[in-house]
């Protein structure tokens, strides 16, 4: 088991977190589809993502998109802080029996699961006077096994959301 070294762990996890945070909130702000961010989009995972929004469990990413839409127009999420830790450097859940270039991927940190926390503001409406609320959100990201193939489909995300917990503060 060639686990990533300490520097690789930090680099791989913070890069993964950064890419995720940028793309995910961009998708929320532009009302893009969210499905591809979740393990629900991969057949490798037999369980759906655990999505908890302001204390209520939301069954699917589609439902979360709908919930976001009920907020109305011009709702904008803005990240002010994020951080990440590695939960498991060699995540196995849902992995195919033979992972493509398994050792290399493990060594480079592609097989880890990470926890990402974000903090920021939700702005309701346009302009400086628009009300704002703080929020804090926690994600657990796990490898997208489909992206570890010889010729992975284009645009596949390397990590997918397995668990999500949002709270407006």
């Amino acid at each position: 088991m060639p686990l990533p070294d300490a520097d690789t762990e930090v680099k791989a996890s913070s890069d993964a977190a950064e890419i995720f945070v940028i793309n995910y909130y961009e998708a929320i702000n532009t009302r893009a589809k969210l499905e591809t961010f979740y393990i629900n989009s991969s057949s490798r995972y037999s369980i759906p993502a655990d999505i908890s929004i302001n204390g209520s469990v939301v069954p699917t990413p589609e439902e979360y998109s709908k919930l976001l839409e009920t907020q109305g127009e011009n709702v904008h999420y803005e990240i002010e802080s994020f951080d990440t830790h590695i939960i498991n450097p060699s995540f196995q859940y849902g992995a195919p029996e033979t992972v493509y270039e398994s050792e290399k991927n493990e060594k480079s940190g592609r097989k880890m699961s990470i926890v990402v926390t974000t903090m920021g503001k939700v702005r309701f409406g346009k302009g400086r006077e628009a009300p704002q609320k703080m929020f804090n959100e926690t994600f657990v990201l796990t490898p997208n096994w489909d992206s570890m193939a010889r010729n992975p489909a284009r645009g596949l995300k390397r990590w997918l959301i397995m668990s999500q917990n949002f709270r407006a503060l």
Binding site: A6, D7, V10, K11, S14, A17, E18, I47, D50, S52, I53, N54, G55, S56, V57, L67, L68, T70, Q71, G72, E73, N74, V75, I79, E80, S81, F82, D83, T84, H85, I86, I87, N88, P89, S90, F91, Q92, Y93, S113, V115, T117, M119, G120, K121, V122, F124, G125, Q132, K133, M134, N136, T138, V140, T142, M162, S163, N165, R167, A168, L169
Partner: protein, 653 residues
């Protein structure tokens, strides 16, 4: 801003503002563009030869469809046309812009240029050329003057030119200018030119350069406007313009194009009468455009830009047949409350037009004298359109065997009292901790100023700010000992007792599969818990001696303990810090209704304040007295207005 009418299949077929163009059409046709002066200098329809030459700061003249002859040039009507062109070119604010803008433009004063003032272009037939005839005038002057001085066979050049009001100013060398002066009284495109030396240097285009005719017409139009203004009602009556004897005498409605320009000109004059937008808003609340044969509001579009705050509009007796004919006003007149549309064909053709109007004009309440919605309903609809947050529910605490609950009860008490024992009990060599500071969070405006971040900022691993690999590695703390070493230098804390003050916390907890199994027994990993908890703590910084409150969020990943030691161990502990701001209480029964009502009340207070000028406090008092019936509130306000103390009203800013 060419009137769309040009694209209509029959130019003469419709008569906006009741113009009588058709009777003139035949005569115009016969006057072909070929009828030029004897020199054949004028080529009305040819692309302008000098369009890009010279340095004119000219706004281009409006083009005409080719094949159309010059306008009849007789008396007052002719002058009116010229003036209207000047008044109505571009947007209605042109007029004021023209007066105030000092256009000592490009290049400024060129050394050694002598300036001449030429009058006559506006009156000439060339004025209807694409560039207003300027290029033709300049070539005419150069060629004529050059041919004069045949003895030397020298080509004379106009170096600079610009148009200002009714004049064209041309700059040339002193020598050439003397030759150009000889063109005074020459005929250009049917008009006698006046060429004199300009002692104004560069006359900026202002009223001074307007011809007496312009000034006279302006004052006539102003007179007409003032007769049509009813000050008591703040009403400007622009109805049945085409049958206004004075306007007809001036020839202002002879044909469609003239009529459109006349209207623009009237709007421009209206604009010019007021120093500020507020003054205009205060003076004119209502406009009547009734009985003007308007079939598309594009013909009177400038009303919307000149009077964006209009409250009442009478469009009755016009020729609007569908919403398309009103489309250009969509999104304008944001304050419009009353509209009359009776006598327009749309009443019969579009059953939904009233509903559409209510959609297009947010404050519109009354159409044709019937109130379709109340101000309160509008305020409610507006409140409903405001974005609203996803509702909050109580904790989503899917615990396993009470492990999560026990952990939280234990953790904060131990973190406040004995951090060393806490790390040795629940953290091990693989545990990770980091903290992240958000120094720009939203905070409670009533709370004391936020505590400084000095004690935390050195260790903050906010990856938004900490971007180098080295710093990111340094600020990730791994292992129980290292974690304690960091914690012991952090300020002392006191978290509220979770049992006694539960509402100061929000906590969610879910099971999480796939954690690393340090024993290596389970290939797929072990199941654990992930907990997100939000709250506040009191802080005392031993080093600075400062104390106060902060808000925090903390995420824990908990895994089963390794056999022999504690029941659980902390895999990951992430602390997010922000300035103090109380949490919403999620433990009260989730009810969206009260917040909606509160929003509506706020919207009604704002609306009442806006309509009455009262400060929000008094608006609220007034509304609560009538149980939030907006209509009644207005009635009460009007009844008791005079008894209200001055502090009830917002001071004008």
């Amino acid at each position: 801003m060419a009137p769309r009418g040009k694209n209509q299949p029959t130019r003469e077929g419709r008569n906006p503002l009741g113009s009588k163009s058709s009777s003139r059409g035949g005569i115009q046709k016969r006057r072909g563009p070929t009828k030029t002066d004897n020199d054949g200098d004028l080529d009305m329809d040819a692309p302008s030869k000098r369009l890009n030459r010279g340095s004119t700061n000219e706004t281009r003249g409006r083009g005409r469809p080719s094949g159309r002859g010059p306008q009849p040039s007789r008396g007052a009507a002719k002058v009116a046309q010229i003036v209207m062109k000047q008044l109505g070119s571009g947007n209605p604010s042109d007029l004021s812009a023209r007066v105030s803008r000092p256009t000592r433009s490009r290049g400024g004063h060129i050394e050694g240029l002598t300036w001449l003032r030429v009058r006559g272009l506006k009156q000439s037939k060339a004025a209807s050329n694409p560039d207003g005839g300027l290029s033709d005038l300049l070539s005419f002057m150069e060629r004529k003057a050059s041919s004069f001085s045949t003895g030397r066979r020298r080509h004379l050049t106009i170096r600079k030119s610009h148009r200002a009001g009714d004049y064209v100013f041309v700059g040339a060398s002193k020598e050439d200018a003397e030759e150009f002066l000889k063109l005074n009284t020459f005929t250009f495109a049917g008009t006698q030119l006046e060429v004199v030396e300009s002692n104004e240097d560069f006359a900026p285009p202002n009223k001074a350069t307007e011809s007496p005719e312009t000034i006279e017409l302006r004052s006539k139009l102003q007179g007409i406007l003032s007769q049509r203004y009813i000050g008591d009602n703040k009403l400007l009556k622009l109805d049945a313009l085409a049958s206004d004897a004075e306007l007809v005498t001036l020839g202002m409605f002879e044909n469609r194009e003239r009529a459109l320009k006349t209207f623009k000109g009237l709007m421009a004059i209206c604009d010019g009468l007021f120093k500020t937008a507020q003054e205009k808003k205060d003076a004119i609340e209502s406009i009547s455009l009734a009985n003007n044969s308007i079939d598309d509001v594009i013909q009177v579009e400038s009303v919307a830009s000149s009077f964006p705050h209009l409250k009442n509009l009478d469009m009755s007796g016009n020729q609007i047949t569908n919403m398309e004919g009103l489309k250009r006003w969509k999104g304008t007149f944001k304050e419009l409350e009353t509209l009359y549309t009776t006598g327009n064909p749309i009443e019969a053709t579009d059953a939904n037009f009233q509903a559409t109007l209510l959609e297009w004009f947010p404050k519109l309440r009354i159409i044709n004298g019937i109130e379709l919605r109340t101000a309160q309903q509008i305020a409610e609809q507006e409140a409903a359109r405001q974005p609203k947050p996803i509702p909050q529910s109580g904790p989503d605490f899917r615990d396993v065997n009470g492990i999560g609950e026990q952990f939280l009860l234990d953790f904060f008490a131990a973190y406040d009292s004995n951090r060393e024992a806490l790390t040795s009990r629940l953290y091990d060599a693989g545990s990770q901790f980091s903290l992240a500071v958000d120094a720009i969070s939203v905070r409670d405006p009533n709370a004391p100023p936020p505590l400084p971040w000095a004690a935390y900022i050195k260790s903050s691993r906010n990856l938004q700010k900490i971007t180098t690999l080295h710093a990111r590695s340094q600020r990730l703390v791994k292992g129980a000992n290292a974690i304690y070493n960091l914690w012991k230098d952090l300020p002392m804390t006191k978290h509220p007792n979770m049992k006694d003050e539960l509402s100061k916390y929000i906590m969610d907890c879910h099971p999480l599969p796939g954690l690393a199994d340090p024993t290596g027994q389970s290939q797929l990993g072990v199941d654990g818990l992930i907990i997100a908890v939000h709250g506040e703590f009191e802080e005392y910084d031993q080093k600075s001696g400062l104390s106060g409150k902060r808000s925090f969020s903390r995420t824990f990943v908990l895994a089963p303990g390794i056999s022999g030691s504690a029941q659980i161990r902390v895999v990951s502990d992430m602390l997010s810090l922000r300035a103090f701001s109380p949490l919403p209480n999620v433990f009260v029964a989730p009810s969206s209704a009260p917040t909606d009502t509160a929003n509506q009340h706020q919207a009604m207070i704002a609306e009442l304040s806006k309509q009455t000028g009262m400060v929000p406090q008094y608006s609220e008092m007034c509304l609560s007295q009538v149980e939030w019936d907006f209509g009644k509130a207005l009635v009460i306000f009007n009844e008791k207005k005079s008894q209200l103390p001055p502090e009830a009203f917002a001071t004008a800013t």
